[in-house]
């Protein structure tokens, strides 16, 4: 997985801090999918996810001029987002794992899980079923790592900050989770 060169974050952050709307728009464009993925990786509802994303962006706006190292922006955003997710989960007092159907319903925004599955090809449905059968940790890891930004996947630093693990552990963890996913696909195909 390619690491995006973080070198261009510095001028972006500085320009946004100086009041340039275009630079701010670029920052939003780069990271808003990652923030959404983090919220959904923590199984927040659409409404709660929207709240968390909003507060994360507002926090960034207030702190733009204070960020010491713009290269660390992905980690800063991810950590802020994750912590707000945890606060929401505390409020909801909900930590039981959700059934695969519930997750699909939430993801698809439908009340009828069957409708959502009907729009998928066989191959996609198998992939979805396999993903839903993964343990919660692998689901969370993969949900964050496979999100695509405008110009490539988000950085390992961001994912590590989200998942609360050292960046060096991410590669092996990603590999293990993808292997499990692949194994589930193969088992399903063999039935």
């Amino acid at each position: 997985m390619a690491e995006r060169a973080g070198g261009d974050l510095r001028p972006l952050v500085h320009a946004a801090a100086a009041g340039d709307q275009g630079s701010w728009n670029e920052i939003v464009e780069r990271f808003h999918r990652l923030l959404w993925a983090i919220c959904r990786a923590y199984r927040l509802s659409s409404a709660d996810s929207a709240d968390v994303c909003q507060v994360t962006w507002l926090r960034l706006l207030e702190n733009l001029g204070r960020i010491q190292d713009p290269e660390r922006l992905p980690g800063w955003l991810s950590t802020t987002c994750r912590r707000e997710c945890q606060a929401v989960l505390r409020r909801a007092r909900r930590s039981e794992p959700i059934g695969a159907d519930d997750y699909l319903d939430r993801l698809a925004g439908n009340t009828n899980g069957a409708d959502a599955r009907a729009i998928l090809s066989d191959r996609d449905r198998q992939l979805w079923d396999a993903f839903a059968r993964l343990n919660e940790r692998c689901q969370r890891v993969l949900r964050v790592l496979v999100v695509d930004a405008e110009d490539g996947p988000p950085s390992y630093a961001a994912a590590a900050a989200t998942l609360g693990m050292p960046a060096g552990a991410l590669g092996p963890t990603r590999g293990r989770c993808l292997s499990r996913l692949r194994r589930m696909l193969e088992e399903a195909a063999a039935r």
């Binding site: 709307q21 808003h32 962006w57 706006l61 207030e62 204070r66 992939l127 949900r143 999100v147 692949r182």
Partner: protein
């Protein structure tokens, strides 16, 4: 290829290919709403307060504590904000009706005024800070909010970090 799934002939997917396929599927099933990005972009243009920032230094609901809930672990949420000119401790009380109140303590102690703003920058409530630096804001709005404190002795207001109440 009678009766044979054409995919049987494909080599096993690489990690990158599988990840890309999963990413595309999740993007289809659960895309980040465009409205959220638009709202984030628009937030840039909102009027900035001429105020010091009191950062969120502590949120009892953001602790990495064990998820297992102990009996009696239902205490009110505690927030602490720290800025260059003041520190603000807030207890988020709840009532059975759910509306609740914000009980605050400002250090250094002294009279002043405090307001609560929503994400559009609108004032959604306010009250006086007493001589001991205390205040109570009844029935705060839910959602993304921040407090703006103006002690009598201060030249500049202090605005807290945004938090989500609810």
């Amino acid at each position: 290829m009678d009766g044979q799934n054409v995919e049987d002939a494909l080599p096993p997917e690489s990690d990158d290919a599988l990840a890309a396929r999963l990413g595309a599927l999740l993007e289809r099933l659960d895309p980040a709403p465009g409205l959220l990005a638009a709202t984030a972009r628009d937030a840039f243009g909102l009027t900035r307060l001429d105020a010091d920032l009191a950062e969120l230094a502590f949120d009892s609901w953001q602790e990495e504590a064990s998820v297992a809930l102990r009996a009696g672990d239902e205490g009110p949420r505690q927030l602490t904000f720290e800025g260059p000119a003041l520190r603000l401790d807030v207890e988020v009380g709840t009532t059975t009706a759910g509306a609740g109140s914000l009980r605050g303590q400002v250090i250094p102690r002294g009279r002043g005024h405090v307001e609560i703003h929503d994400a559009t920058g609108s004032r959604r409530g306010g009250t006086e800070i007493d001589a001991a630096g205390r205040f109570v804001l009844e029935r705060p709005p839910t959602g993304t909010v921040r407090l703006v404190c103006t002690p009598e002795a201060a030249a500049t207001p202090t605005a807290t970090d945004w938090v989500v109440l609810g």
